[in-house]
Amino acid sequence: MADEQQVIDKPRPREIIAPGYTFGTVTDQIATVVLTKKTPLFWFVGFGVGFSLLLVFLWAVVVLFAKGVGIWGIRTPVMWGFAITNFVWWIGIGHAGTLISAILLLLNQRWRNSINRFAEAMTLFAVACAGMFPILHLGRPWLAYWLFPYPNTMGVQPNFRSPLVWDVFAVSTYATVSLMFWYVGLIPDLATLRDRTASRMPRFIYGIMAMGWRGSARHWSVYETASLLLAGLATPLVLSVHTVVSFDFTIAIVPGWHSTFFPPYFVAGAIYSGFAMVMALAIPLRAAYGLEGLITDKHLDNSAKVMLATGLIVAYAYIMEAFTAWYTGNVYEHDAIWHRMTGPYKYSYWFLVTCNIIAPQFLWSKKIRSKPALLFVSSIVVLIGMWLERYVIIVSSLAQDFLVSSWGIFQATRWDWATYLGTIGLFLFLFFLFIRLLPMISIFEVRTLLPQAKIEEEV
């Protein structure tokens, strides 16, 4: 087993895999990242940052549980602040992973094969981060289980009219399906790792996790069916989860929340930020591990195009939001948008417009799309923009709603920031563990991209 990585020719622009790969070199290159004994410095730096922020998160959560949600900046009338913003943001990020693995699979977009594994992992970790916020933000988090319909002596059930209960089902279903999809997809590669590792312990663990995969035709047949079924299950979730999340706002009567176009707007925004996150992860990863041959410029180009498309949908939504507010003639809706643009949150608003609408327009240029560094910057810009979008929707709408007397301005505290940055830490922590312990690119699926695979098929 060679520890050193092999030098592969740079791919030509339109290819989704560099020429010169063989089944063996693909397997070697991907498996080596995991099976090598040398952990690169890059990994330690990334993991260290993630772990430090994770500790910040734990600290913030301990204080939160000890004292109460008063440590945050929330107040009357802005009862939701960073927690729900982060929740929506993280859930949105997760969407790209599912889109790539499920919808693009069904649409037979073969370029997805090289990025779906880590995109799915990203989904999983993003959902983990998101899933904590609805619990953390509760006044009495120890009673979170009351949101589940379980038989109890009180004879009380959750209120099925409440979008928060729908959230519980939507998010838990999403988390379950994502986990299963990701794990099932991992099994053949786990078997590869089991077979290639030299030491006993990893072999044992990968062996258990591979669930006896031997690569027989029967296994492959069952695998293909299962994977197709899960893709079928996951596909509606891409649309439904963020639709339900948007219901948290549309069902409420708060001006600035109460609008029917939120579901498509939120789904588009989710995919927008999700692809931004995919690129923000892929670009440094492929540079650090020399994976330009597997994650080619073509992938980045495609992702950038998806971003541009969804970004335009989001831009359309912003315009429609302002238009409907004006067109309804409703003083509350009108003021909600007007305050958003000119009120206490105007800087956030115009900054998010810059991030989400103006910055992505550069992606029309092929030149920019072919420069990974610029794409990385633009994806970070979009991630910030999308976070701000949720923040502005939630906070500015609540801050100035119906009764002028009750208006009040939300100001984040350091605990708000600690919790937010802390979940980024958790995400990085989990993600770096993932790239060190599991193959970040699907070995067997990338092998199907090779010309050799096609020839055999044709024969």
């Binding site: 009338p77 006044g139 009495r140 949101l147 959750p158 009219r161 209960v165 003083v331 119906f402 002028v404």
Partner: protein
């Protein structure tokens, strides 16, 4: 979190704070803490040697299983033997270890039991008489109501005190008392918190060391005996205003026994100039009160008669009754107000003119001249004043005998004298204005009285200075330098509820009993006497001023009960004193004690008007008692500190109030810290820019800036007493103002006040328009049809509770806010949390400004409790059904079920829901546990809470009615806010009953729903506010 809530006191033994089971019975153990101190003392003595042994004696076992074991060290046994020979027998070596231990336990048990027995010393029985609902015996769970009276500035307001198993929890107005008429003000409401305040002084101290009352009595008697030879020339007693007949009698007795002694009075926010004006206008001390029920036109010269002053509850009731426009009555009275600082009265004015103090005086002269009551100036350089005089004087002259001119308490004597003259000229005396003999026991010029005391202190003749209540070191005019003067008395004793700035200067600090702990009596605004009865044994080792004055007499140790009853037994002329006494105490009023009206003759010559002082680049400084903490006596009261002050909505602070124009001129804005200089005194204070304030003046509210108060009050705000000179207790020209820095953090509960784009929040109009077209008040509002919902209608076969709030009556005084806080165990959160928008009040008073004139905008008040919507947005979104619709139409809030998603609050368009961001409720402080209403859950952290129309009161009434097999009658249930409202603006009842008061109000043409356009269909509705402007003054 230390700033959010008062924490455990740390002072005083724990057991004193615990439940005084039979507080009202007279035999509660609290009373005996002093005498039965033996049991704890024994324990102390037992453990003390052990403590010593720990340090000095080595033979103690290295490892020990218990204190007994440890204490068995030979040295300790020896000590024990000598200390307690008999008890120690069981410990000797000839007894085996087991028996020894058992004996010890037996002895322990026995001594504890004996300690308990010794607490059963029989106390003399003192009967207090339950009011209204008088059960055979006290039924647990059912409160009793007792009549008594609160005093402010010495003058009484009758109250009923709700007592749960011997602990007073809530104050209600006394319907039979003339000053209350069933209503209650913020100070009375908050006095229960004062009773249980853990910061109250709990022990008698000499130079900070705890002493017994016996020790003080010994010292006092020695001085008194020594003073006998000089007729008491060295004795000075300083009180606040005294109206109590009993105390007056005692003070007279002291004067009689010690003719050379002196009694001084000082009440910082008392009616100093009204007293002076009576002398000026009538040549004799005369007391004035008013009757608004016959007044068609009222002119207020800076009198906030609707919200402050000794009879404001009665005045507000009478005034608002004359403004209630119903199907039967379509007429309103008319109110003109000139004032510097917007007050609740100012917000109700049909014409309001902001004027600074000197302008008001000029205004009074011009109005009196126009009415022919005085010879003064006919023109003014202030165009507004000139414009106003004619319409007002015509209006007044049209209503001779049915009009009223009132001078504010803090206006100079000349304005009061002019008001007397005008009322006389208008023939109002005996119709709307009444004169009586003074209600004060000894009406004197209190400033002169204080100055005389200062002179005596300087001359060193004062042997004993006895300060009964008050805080003269803090509240006296700053030029008297009272701090330096008080210490010149040889022996100084200060009786007070709290240790304050004056206590610091006195050797003896004497803890005072709260009025709910002791007997007493006091006169109301019209002279009516109320006998105050105690609701609970004194929580701490306090005594009342009556007891202290009794120390000068031959029988110094008689109880307050004997003192008060003894005095009235002496006064009683008829037969059967016991029955008379029972009746008087029970009713809360002593019959036939109201002073008869008289008609003093007005002096012809009122003098000439003083020349109006020019500002010359300076400002006029105006001193007023604070709207919520008064002269500073309530500074440690969290409810009053956190009660948003009328109009400004400021909490936990006072400020330099400036008009927008003045602020612009001075280059300052809200939150700037300025250096105020007036005369040779100066201090730093933050600026608050107040629309509607008079230009060229700065109002400073007294009472803040204590250096020594409790944990709640110390260091809050700034102290305007530091600028108040004896030459100008009300206002004076000559204040300079310089900006120092900016960014002072005010805690205001309302940051936005504009009504510009949302006119329909407060429906309003003029009486004339309304009579022509009733719908005109609802202009700009829309109400969607009822069918516009996909949910089926709720069915209410039984009751359907509803509320109607008449904005035309509401003055925005805030009494309902405190009443609600007391009734519903609402937590105090502290300034920092208020700044973060986390105040917990279930009902709030929103204030809105309308129009463009920042210097005099119309101001509208709107009380907002939970609207109890039919289609409640909150119910829909709660994921755990913690808030749900009741069968009677309430939005019930199930605290136990709430997990704290706060979604309901986000979705509440009225933002009436309050969230416990932290553990705001105080679960620790023992004395505050007694305060809680046992019928209402104390909410914990992470739980949403809100108004439920006092559902505990609804249920109590329903249970009663079901037991009697009848329906709940209209008016049987009064919500806490309704019960206390001086103007009866809030009406609650069954909307299923078309004859109920609330149904009738809802049928009124002025009725509207707040935010009707979003179709939540609230159960709480509002009646539009109307104004009645003088057509002549328009345009």
């Amino acid at each position: 979190m230390s700033d959010t809530k008062k924490k455990t006191t740390g002072q005083g033994p724990e057991d004193r704070g615990q439940g005084p089971g039979g507080g009202g019975q007279g035999s509660g153990f609290l009373a005996n803490v002093e005498t039965n101190g033996r049991a704890p003392a024994d324990l102390i003595q037992l453990t003390a040697p052990a403590d010593k042994a720990r340090g000095t004696v080595s033979p103690a076992p290295a490892l020990w299983r218990s204190l007994n074991d440890y204490a068995a060290a030979p040295d300790f046994e020896e000590r024990l033997q000598s200390e307690f020979p008999r008890q120690a027998i069981g410990w000797s070596e000839d007894e085996n270890a087991v028996d020894g231990r058992r004996n010890f336990l037996k002895l322990m048990g026995a001594s504890m039991a004996l300690a308990g027995l010794s607490a059963c010393t029989r106390q003399p029985t003192e009967h207090i008489v339950p009011y209204v609902r008088q059960p055979e015996e006290l039924i647990p769970g059912r409160p009793l109501f007792f009549a008594t009276a609160t005093t402010l500035g010495g003058v009484a307001t009758g109250v009923l005190v709700e007592s749960h198993e011997g602990r007073p929890t809530k104050i209600e107005g006394s319907p039979e008392h003339p000053a209350s008429l069933g209503a209650c003000d913020i100070f009375s409401q908050a006095s229960v918190l004062q009773l249980y305040d853990p910061d109250r002084s709990q022990a008698l101290t000499l130079d900070g060391e705890i002493r017994s009352w016996g020790a003080f009595l010994g010292v006092l008697r020695a001085i008194v005996d020594a003073q006998k030879s000089t007729n008491g020339a060295g004795i000075r007693i300083l009180t606040e205003t005294v109206t109590s007949p009993t105390m007056a009698d005692q003070l007279r007795a002291v004067q009689k026994a010690f003719p050379a002694s002196k009694w001084h009075q000082w009440e910082p926010a008392g009616p100093h100039s009204a007293r002076a004006a009576a002398m000026q206008a009538f040549g004799a001390p005369v007391h004035t009160y008013y009757d608004f029920s016959n007044a068609n036109v009222v002119v207020s010269l800076d009198a906030d008669f609707l919200a402050s002053g000794t009879a404001s509850l009665r005045y507000a009731r009478q005034f608002s009754a004359r403004r209630r426009v119903t199907a039967e009555n379509s007429e309103m009275n008319r109110l003109y107000v000139v004032e510097p600082m917007p007050t609740p009265t100012g917000t109700k004015a049909d014409h309001r003119l902001p004027l600074r103090g000197d302008d008001i005086e000029e205004f009074a002269w011009m109005l009196a001249t126009a009415l022919g009551a005085a010879q003064g100036p006919k023109t003014s350089d202030n165009g507004d004043v000139s414009k106003w005089i004619n319409p007002i004087s015509h209006d007044l002259l049209r209503n001779k005998g049915a009009s009223l001119v009132i001078a504010g308490e803090h206006q100079p004597a000349s304005v009061h004298a002019l008001a007397h003259a005008m009322n006389a000229a208008l023939g109002n005396v005996g119709k709307t204005v009444f004169y009586t003999d003074p209600i004060e026991a000894n009406q004197v010029d209190q400033l002169a009285s204080l100055q005389e005391l200062v002179k005596d202190l300087d001359s060193g003749t004062v042997e004993l200075l006895l300060i009964l209540g008050g805080n003269p070191a803090f509240t006296a005019p700053v030029d008297l330098a009272m701090r330096d003067r008080i210490v010149k008395a040889k022996v100084r004793a200060h009786l007070s509820l709290y240790e304050n700035e004056t206590s610091e200067l006195c050797q003896w600090h004497l803890p005072e009993t709260h009025f709910l702990e002791t007997w007493g009596d006091a006169r109301a605004f019209d002279g009516t006497v109320t006998i105050q009865q105690p609701l609970i044994e004194p929580l701490y080792n306090g005594r009342s001023a009556y007891q202290l004055l009794q120390m000068f007499a031959d029988n110094p140790e008689i109880s307050p009960y004997q003192i008060v009853k003894g005095y009235w037994a002496g006064q009683h002329k008829g037969i059967d004193f016991e029955a008379w006494w029972r009746r008087a105490v029970h009713d809360g009023i002593v019959p036939d004690t109201a002073l008869p009206p008289k008609t003093p003759t007005l002096k012809a010559n009122l003098g000439a008007p003083a020349a109006k002082r020019k500002l010359e680049g300076k400002l006029e400084v105006i001193f007023r008692p604070d709207p919520t903490i008064f002269d500073g006596r309530f500074v440690n009261n969290g409810w009053l500190q956190e009660l948003p002050k009328p109009i400004t909505k400021l909490t936990w602070d006072n400020a330099v109030m400036l008009s927008p124009t003045t602020a612009h001129w001075a280059g300052v804005e809200t939150g700037d810290l300025v250096q105020l200089t007036y005369g040779s005194f100066s201090l730093r204070a933050p600026v608050w820019v107040q629309p509607g304030h008079a230009i060229g003046a700065a109002t400073l509210h007294l009472g803040y800036g204590h250096t020594r108060a409790g944990k709640t009050g110390t260091g809050v705000g700034f102290n305007p007493y530091g600028l108040r000179l004896s030459k100008a207790l009300g206002h004076d020209v000559g204040l300079e103002l310089k900006k120092v820095s900016s960014g002072y953090p005010f805690a205001s509960t309302q940051e936005f006040h504009t009504l510009d784009t949302r006119r329909h929040l407060v429906h309003k109009g003029t009486l004339e328009e309304f009579k022509k077209e009733p719908e005109s008040v609802h202009e700009g509002a829309e109400a969607p049809p009822r069918e516009l919902t996909i949910y089926p209608e709720w069915q209410y076969p039984g009751y359907a509770w509803g509320m109607a709030i008449d904005l035309n009556s509401c003055t925005g005084c805030g009494a309902c806010v405190v009443a609600c806080q007391a009734e519903n165990n609402i937590a105090v959160v502290g300034k920092d949390q208020v700044r973060r928008g986390r105040a917990m009040h279930w009902i709030r008073i929103d204030s809105y400004y309308a129009g463009d004139d920042l210097n005099n905008p119309p101001i509208y008040n709107q009380p907002v409790p939970c609207q109890q919507c039919e289609d409640a947005p909150c119910e829909l979104v709660c994921p755990v059904q913690a808030t749900s619709h009741s069968a009677e139409g309430l939005n019930d809030m199930v605290y136990n079920r709430c997990v704290g998603t706060r979604y309901c609050s986000n979705n509440c368009p009225y933002k009436v829901r309050r969230f416990n961001f932290y553990l705001f409720s105080d679960y620790e402080t023992p004395s505050l546990k007694l305060l809680h209403n046992p019928d209402v859950t104390v909410r914990s952290r992470g739980v949403m809470e809100k108004c439920t129309y006092c559902v505990q009161r609804i249920n109590a009434a329903k249970i009663d009615s079901e037991r009697q097999d009848r329906k709940v009658q209209d008016g049987e249930i009064q919500t806490a806010c309704q019960a206390t409202c001086p103007t009866e603006a809030i009406i609650f009842g069954n909307v299923n009953d078309p004859d109920s008061r609330v149904s009738k109000m809802k049928a009124d043409k002025r009725n509207y729903s707040l935010l009707a356009d979003i179709n939540t269909r609230p159960r709480t509705t509002y009646l539009a506010t109307l104004s009645n402007p003088n057509p002549e003054a328009e345009g």
